[in-house]
């Protein structure tokens, strides 16, 4: 599991927006990504080396400070947004 947290974007006090990206783990077969990869090849895109099909979530939340916001989003990822057996997630912070 990976969790990269970049510097939180400046926003109104106590309000944060996280973008959570969830992808199948590298070692897990991604049938969806594979199918898209094949389709891209069929329509003439020769140089595509790999497609991983994932999901993204925008989480707008209120928290006392950056650390708490980050900790809360991390727990959301582990408990619901991603399934750690088959998926990795990364967290980016964006401006509202």
């Amino acid at each position: 599991m990976t969790s990269q947290t970049s510097r939180h974007a400046e926003g109104p006090e106590g309000r944060f927006v996280a973008r959570v990206l969830v992808y199948p783990r590298a070692e897990v077969l991604d049938p969806q990504g594979r199918a898209i990869e094949d389709a891209l090849g069929r329509i003439g895109f020769d140089g595509v080396r790999r497609i991983r099909a994932g999901k993204s979530f925008e989480v707008a939340l209120e928290a006392a400070d950056e650390e708490q916001a980050s900790e809360a989003v991390d727990r959301m990822c582990r408990q619901l947004l991603a399934n750690p057996i088959v998926e990795d997630y990364t967290v980016e912070w964006v401006s509202e």
């Binding site: 077969l29 049938p31 199918a35 399934n83 057996i85 088959v86």
Partner: protein, 239 residues
């Protein structure tokens, strides 16, 4: 045995299980709404098939966090019987009551077809109607039934004998062509370490009466209510 079938928004096999437990096996059976917090004294809890919450996020993931699941977890941890069928199996994986996870089927297709299963354990109450090595025919109907876990976890699962059903051909052989959804090690059903929680992708409730042309699944539901009590493993475990 008092049986409870949990109904989630999107469950669609709840009445089929109810019919078999109540009318065929003549057990006291009740529906339990997902927002309840009590199992009303049910000894067997069934998480039925369907598309709970429209399969949002990941199949079974939303249901895994519904109010009644806290009670289901307590029941399971106290040794109570929990059976998850198809979407119910996915919920048990998402709650962590059973190990592993599901991916989309290997060929990305929704599969609705009869498959053959080999019984890998007959020392569990669930399988008391079967013998180890028996080959059963049961329908599957799912898009996310491609079982996966880390290699290490799969080895551990095998070592502890938690693989209860495997996809095989009609002769009982493990063949890639018989493992339609691409599950690791052809796994179709697993139990927890205590043997009291069982999940499987195939639908025993859809093949439990002669008039349906197949009653291979009746034995599993009969096993689910066999003996009473809360023990998952049979006293006279044969192996």
């Amino acid at each position: 045995m008092k049986c409870g079938i949990v109904v989630f928004p999107g469950s669609n096999c709840d009445h089929d299980v109810y019919h078999v437990l109540s009318h065929v096996l003549e057990q006291e059976t009740t529906f339990l709404w997902h927002q309840e917090t009590s199992l009303e004294g049910c000894e067997l809890v069934v998480l039925p098939g369907g598309f709970s919450y429209g399969d949002y996020l990941r199949a079974g993931s939303m249901a895994a966090h519904s109010p009644i699941m806290a009670a289901v977890r307590r029941h399971a941890e106290a040794g109570g019987r929990v059976l998850g069928i198809c979407n119910g199996f996915q919920m048990l994986l998402e709650t962590g009551l059973l190990p592993g996870a599901m991916r989309r089927n290997r060929d990305l297709r929704f599969l609705s077809v009869d498959v053959h299963l080999r019984v890998e354990r007959d020392d569990l109450t669930w399988c008391s109607s079967y013998r180890r090595g028996d080959v059963l025919r049961m329908p599957i109907a799912h898009a996310e039934g491609n079982y996966v876990d880390t290699g290490e976890a799969l080895d551990e699962l095998e070592r502890r004998g938690q693989v209860v059903f495997r996809y095989v051909d009609a002769a009982g052989r493990r063949e890639p062509a018989a493992n339609l959804n691409g599950s690791e090690r052809a796994i179709a059903g697993v139990c927890n370490a205590g043997g009291n929680v069982l999940g499987l992708m195939p639908h025993p409730e859809r093949c439990a009466e002669e008039m349906l042309g197949n009653r291979d699944g009746l034995g599993l539901l009969a096993g689910a209510v066999a003996g009473g009590g809360r023990v998952g493993a049979l006293a006279a475990a044969g192996g």
